[in-house]
């Protein structure tokens, strides 16, 4: 339907065309006061014209929610979208459970903990697990690993890749036989070849790489996870101006959220801990301050309880706050083995 076909009076139609509203799209973007000014008519008349235009759009069968508010999507459509999203296996069944299946795509997840708890191990495990073939329940995607601290030990990545392959073959023995080409594919070297590694040495480079990711991800559309290990390191030393730091960090988090949504990938940010003086005592809390803590969609805190490692889901829009134990083994991140129960299936 065009402006010419709208059931409005001729003088209004002529005024619309004269004012430059040549299509329904242009009209739907206008608001009553603006339209009234442009057409030199009263506001109620402008509102009537817009109502007619909206009805005409609906009739045409254009996007229902988009015609109400531009770019909107209704919650029901989003539900089916959310349910069909895949999760990235963390390696530990218990950890997957508290996360609702694993690390979510299209969301930013922050993982923080004391040094030595296993943040980098989990980061590397995710970089490998995202590559698990689709036939075996994975995403078959590639990963980007942004290393700011130098903790990426490539021999360990090889070891974790070997562990992942041995687990795939244990639970999917027919995978090897079914696809003879699978023989070539399931080698640790091919897993390593699909991890894009950036080594960042200053906060400027960190900003630059996150800006560059937009172009990079456009060229490498099979990347399904971006891991930043750690997002904190360069922001704890170079900054005298805290206001600048907060501004830069919030800019980064917005860009990362946008990348996650646009390219349908998971963004995992590893964070360090710091001590904060609250309620009369020093407590361990995640670094980068209170304003940063709003930046992520999900937050997982890793901590020690005696000799065991635990993960606590501190922030999530849809899941309860629960803890789960996990272990770091020679093969990578796995379920914590307790003596009186058999080890749970990893995949």
């Amino acid at each position: 339907m065009e402006i010419a076909d709208l059931p409005i009076c001729t003088s209004h139609r002529a005024k619309l065309l004269a004012a430059g509203y040549s299509s329904l799209a242009a009209l739907s973007a206008a608001d009553p006061p603006r339209l009234a000014l442009d057409l030199n008519i009263e506001i109620p008349e402008a509102e009537d014209i817009l109502k007619i235009a909206v009805c005409a759009n609906k009739f045409k069968g254009a996007d229902g929610p988009s015609s109400v508010i531009k770019g909107a999507q209704n919650a029901w459509d989003m539900l089916s979208d959310e349910q069909s999203r895949k999760h990235i296996n963390t390696g530990s069944g218990d950890l997957n459970n508290i996360l609702g299946g694993g690390i979510h795509c299209k969301e930013v997840t922050e993982i923080g903990g004391v040094p030595g708890i296993g943040k980098t191990q989990l980061g590397i495990q995710l970089a490998i697990n995202v590559q698990i073939p689709v036939e075996c329940g994975g995403l078959g995607g590639k990963s980007v690993y942004i290393d700011t601290e130098g903790s990426f030990m490539v021999e360990r990545v090889y070891q974790i890749a070997e562990g992942c392959i041995s687990d795939i073959l244990e639970y999917f023995p027919h995978y090897q036989n079914k696809a003879p080409s699978g023989q070539e594919k399931l080698k640790p070297e091919s897993f390593l070849a699909d991890i894009y590694y950036f080594r960042i040495c200053s906060y400027t480079e960190q900003i630059a790489v996150i800006n560059y990711l937009e172009k990079f991800l456009g060229e490498h559309k099979d990347v399904r996870i971006v891991i930043i290990d750690s997002v904190t390191f360069h922001f704890r030393q170079d900054f005298d101006d805290m206001a600048l730091r907060t501004r830069v960090l919030s800019g980064l988090s917005l860009k990362l959220m946008k990348l996650a949504k646009t390219y349908n990938l998971a963004v995992v940010l590893l964070n360090q801990v710091t001590t904060k003086f609250t309620e009369g005592s020093f407590q361990l809390t995640l670094a980068l301050g209170d304003s940063w803590s709003h930046s992520c969609t999900n937050r997982l805190i890793l901590y020690w309880d005696g000799n065991l490692r635990y993960a606590y889901l501190d922030k999530s829009p849809s899941l309860p706050a629960v803890s789960a134990p996990y272990a770091v083994t020679g093969k990578g991140v796995r379920d914590a083995v307790s003596s009186n129960r058999k080890r749970a299936r990893v995949m």
Binding site: A127, L192, Y196, I200, Y203, E205, A208, I210, N211, Y212
Partner: protein
């Protein structure tokens, strides 16, 4: 990468001039600015400002490698490790102290940290056939504990076949450069100046003995 000059980035000339006029000469200057401020500096709309940021970011961003390429470069450069000559320790470390990473040695006083560092310094100077890195060592000694007599003694007892040869003891210990900073600022300054030296003189090991003493001075 952060100090890359904007003038060398081949931005459109009018943008480059505007940035220079405002004193934004390096990538760090440009990328630290919020978008809105950059728009007012360049006197353009948001799209041009974003394009300029994307251009600067692409140049300032370090190149990427696949993890496989990283593994191959590590394997090519020997094992990428300094073997400590202690079998159990080398096994748990996966070959020895890794190159390209920071390793911290922690322990109570008297346990043998300095002795361990002296041994490592010696090992790094040895030729590769003896398990060394065949390179120079920079030993930053903040507590005045470095004893050249002790290092020669370690050499003679652990590697008698090398140290008995004429002049080799001098050659090996000649490769260890001892620096004695008196304060933290002294140390930071000498680190900055050291960057070029490390490359020019094939330094394979840098030891700081100890960090705690530096901090408390």
């Amino acid at each position: 990468m952060a100090n890359k000059l904007v003038s060398e980035m081949r931005l459109p000339p009018h943008l480059a001039h505007l940035l220079a006029a405002r004193g934004l000469t390096t990538a760090k200057d440009v990328l630290s600015l919020p978008e809105v401020e950059l728009m007012s500096v360049l006197d353009t709309g948001i799209h041009t400002a974003r394009a300029a940021v994307a251009h600067v970011s692409e140049i300032a961003c370090p190149p990427y490698q696949t993890a496989l390429a990283l593994l191959e470069s590590v394997r090519l450069g020997g094992s990428g490790r300094l073997a400590t000559a202690l079998r159990g320790l080398d096994n748990s470390l996966g070959g020895g102290i890794p190159l390209g990473k920071l390793t911290e040695i922690v322990g109570p006083s008297g346990i043998g940290k300095t002795q361990f560092c002296l041994k490592l310094a010696l090992l790094a100077t040895l030729p590769e056939c003896y398990g060394g890195l065949n390179g120079r060592v920079v030993y930053i000694d903040t507590e005045f504990k470095f004893s050249s007599q002790r290092i020669i003694e370690i050499g003679k007892k652990s590697f008698p076949q090398i140290f008995r040869q004429e002049g080799l003891a001098q050659k090996m210990s000649g490769r260890i450069l001892v620096v004695r900073p008196t304060s933290l600022s002294d140390f930071t300054k000498s680190l900055e100046q050291m960057k070029v030296t490390l490359l020019q003189h094939d330094v394979k090991l840098l030891i700081v003995d100890s960090m705690a003493a530096l901090m408390s001075s």
